[in-house]
């Protein structure tokens, strides 16, 4: 165990705080408001086109911090390892986490490993927790969303979910669909730096755009209208979804967020977004309408009829025909 920790994890994550090899990392307090979050990762397969469980575990937590407008600083990581997991796999994951942490400008400062009996885990599960610092006074939350706000996304939707499904089920598409997994904190920092008022941000993960919008509409007690034609979805993702009977609006992403901003700042926001590698295909997809105690999200179909865009009760299941 000791060998694994120093050989695999310390080697991959080395930094002064981790290198003290003490029970807890001692961090200098930046003296501002802090953001703190945690998330666990159980993806199967562990490696998929465009990412793996390691990079996902870093980006997921970084993105959760970023959604509060925080600059992510430190991450902890806990590994639940199933007995028999090849050491090479663990090394690959640790290296991927290290590269992801570097890309996301965070440090992995403390960690834990547990090994469970064979058959009691799915290779490896990872938990990460993260601390970020808020270097501003603004509040980013569903309660800050206002009628008239525009709803934006930073890029095309559904690639992560379809990439994972393809590698899990052995489906082959004509072109390889790679996950959209990416860290979003830098993008958010740039928007804040440019003075774009961010009323609310949320990363689009499980349940896709639909779940994300519904959660915010419900918390805000507002009614949203989106236009399906305006939502960027790549042709290969749409095609794969059509074949499997899935709706891309419910498919998970790992490097996408929705943004709620006041209309006068649209031009500025789009300029910043499209200047960043994670926002090249940013688009306005909808608008916040008035108060609505039901917190409904509505959608205008391509032929111009409005309907409810609801949250699914469970996971989307592929259809028969």
């Amino acid at each position: 165990m000791h060998e694994m920790i120093s050989g695999v994890f310390h080697a991959a994550f080395q930094n002064p705080m981790l290198d003290t090899r003490h029970d807890a990392a001692v961090l200098a307090s930046p003296g501002q408001r802090l953001a703190f979050t945690t998330d666990s990762y159980v993806v199967h397969p562990l490696f998929f086109p465009g990412g793996d469980i390691g990079s996902l575990a870093v980006y997921g937590t970084v993105n959760d911090l970023a959604m509060s407008g925080a600059r992510p600083l430190f991450i902890s990581t806990g590994f639940i390892i199933e007995e028999g997991l090849p050491m090479e796999t663990l090394v690959r994951i640790a290296r991927s986490m290290s590269a992801a942490a570097q890309k996301a400008c965070v440090q992995i400062v403390t960690g834990d490993t547990k090994v469970v009996e064979r058959g009691k885990g799915d290779g490896v599960y990872i938990n990460t927790a993260g601390i970020g610092v808020l270097e501003h006074d603004s509040v980013i939350s569903p309660l800050e969303v206002r009628p008239g706000d525009l709803i934006l996304v930073n890029g095309d939707l559904g690639r992560h979910g379809m990439a994972v499904m393809a590698s899990r089920e052995g489906l082959e598409y004509e072109s390889e669909i790679t996950s959209d997994s990416a860290p979003l904190a830098t993008l958010v920092q740039k928007l804040m730096g440019a003075g774009v008022p961010l009323h609310c941000l949320r990363d689009i993960t499980r349940g896709g755009l639909s779940a994300t919008l519904n959660e915010i509409a419900e918390a805000a007690g507002l009614n949203f209208l989106i236009e399906e034609d305006l939502i960027p979805v790549r042709a290969d993702v749409r095609g794969a979804c059509e074949i499997l009977g899935l709706d891309p609006l419910y498919v998970a992403c790992e490097g996408r967020l929705v943004l709620f901003i006041p209309e006068p700042h649209l031009k500025q926001a789009l300029a910043v977004l499209r200047d960043d590698p994670c926002g090249k295909q940013a688009a306005v997809i909808g608008r916040v309408r008035g108060p609505d105690p039901r917190g409904l999200v509505c959608s205008l179909s391509p032929i111009g009829v409005e309907r409810v865009l609801d949250m699914l009760s469970g996971e989307q299941l592929p259809r028969i025909c």
Binding site: E169, L244, V305, V308, R319
Partner: protein, 374 residues
């Protein structure tokens, strides 16, 4: 995207909608057969673009919905056995049997797996010779060729641990049953495009003649459906009752001959019970004598099991076009996708699920101009 965007074009949709308005002079009731069409209609709002005189009612073409309760209970019984790997298409997993659904059996430790093709189930059987692999073969003529091929290959390769729980149904006998009912109100049909891609449409010609109903083979995109409706309305207004093909990009008059051959090789026509509707003669498929050793009901000794439907559910009336989901007092109250009373709500393709998902608030379903956002 090719084959999608051109069939969702708003300007063309308006154009066809205007043409339907122009030629409609009296009320008509039209039924779309397939659950995929039902969902497209409600999701895209195709019905909203129609004149008030045209009523669309939703047919029995949701394979999950018409699979009888006892078959689902048999599936649950088999899936719970420790020696079994139970394989199913995904949307069957949430459909309630008498007590629970397949997802619950899975959560309780049953080895239930979602597959994308019956051949995947056959591969699982080969890879797991010590287990009994059972595939839940439900559906219409669309899924029958693939299921037949899996049995055929299992027979050729002498795979002894592969079985099928068969609940195959056929469209034309169901149409006859609907049209023969004294309460029938259906005057024209949109036939299911993908069923016809396999079977062709010659078998619909006698139905159109006998019952004097226009039948138009129709696709699944909004423009397909609008055009199919236009063709049915035109026939109704002109007093014609012919079989026409709107979906010519996928459907040929004779259908797909090799697919039909493999169905005939493995299956034979048999009476079937339809959930909510009851027994319909000659309305299903069962394994031929030669392939009986692959029959899961025989293998697991479940042939005798029968079940009655819950009384409160009116899915039978909905599947025959006699009621619409909103007319059910339980709709959205005691019956929701989370707690369905029947399969039309429990299946993702069911008519009740479509109305619940897209229309459960009355202020929806009005056409409006696009471009309100930017």
């Amino acid at each position: 995207m090719k084959y999608l965007d051109e069939y969702r074009d708003p300007a063309l949709a308006r154009k066809i909608s205007r043409a339907i308005h122009r030629i409609t002079t009296k009320p008509h009731v039209i039924m779309e057969i397939c659950g995929g069409q039902t969902h497209a209609i409600v999701k895209f709002g195709v019905d909203v673009l129609l004149p008030g005189q045209i009523t669309l009612v939703h047919g029995p073409g949701c394979p999950v919905c018409v699979t009888p309760l006892e078959l689902i209970d048999k599936a649950l019984d088999i899936a719970a056995r420790p020696e079994v790997i139970f394989c199913s298409f995904g949307d069957m997993l949430r459909v309630p049997g008498s007590g629970k659904d397949l997802l619950t059996v899975k959560a309780e430790g049953g080895d239930v797996r979602i597959v994308y093709s019956p051949l995947d189930a056959l591969s699982l059987a080969k890879a797991n010779p010590s287990r009994q692999v059972v595939f839940f073969a439900i559906g219409f003529e669309t899924t029958a060729p693939g299921n037949a091929m899996a049995v055929y290959q299992a027979y050729q390769q002498q795979i002894k641990n592969f079985f099928m729980l068969v609940s195959h149904v056929l469209v034309p006998p169901a149409m006859r049953a609907i049209l023969s009912s004294p309460q029938n109100r259906v005057e024209g049909f949109l036939a299911a495009g993908h069923v016809c891609a396999v079977m062709g449409y010659e078998e619909y010609i006698p139905i159109a003649r006998e019952f004097k109903v226009p039948i138009v083979v129709t696709g699944f995109e909004p423009l397909d459906i609008l055009q199919g409706i236009l063709m049915v309305v035109r026939q109704l207004e002109q007093g014609r009752y012919e079989v026409e093909n709107q979906y010519s990009r996928a459907v040929k008059r004779g259908g797909n001959a090799p697919a039909q051959e493999i169905i005939k090789e493995v299956f034979e026509v048999a009476p079937r019970k339809w959930r909510g509707v009851g027994d319909i003669p000659h309305s299903g498929l069962k394994l031929r004598e030669q392939y009986q050793s692959f029959d899961a009901e025989g293998r697991f000794g479940l042939s005798g099991m029968t079940r009655e439907e819950p009384e409160e559910c009116i899915s039978g009336l909905i599947l025959q076009g006699l009621k619409k989901p909103g007319e059910c007092p339980a709709f959205g109250q005691r019956c929701t996708p989370q707690h369905p009373l029947g399969a039309t709500m429990g299946s993702s393709e069911g008519a009740c699920a479509a109305y619940y998902r897209y229309r459960r608030f009355t202020d929806f379903g009005k056409p409006r101009e696009r471009g309100v956002i930017s």
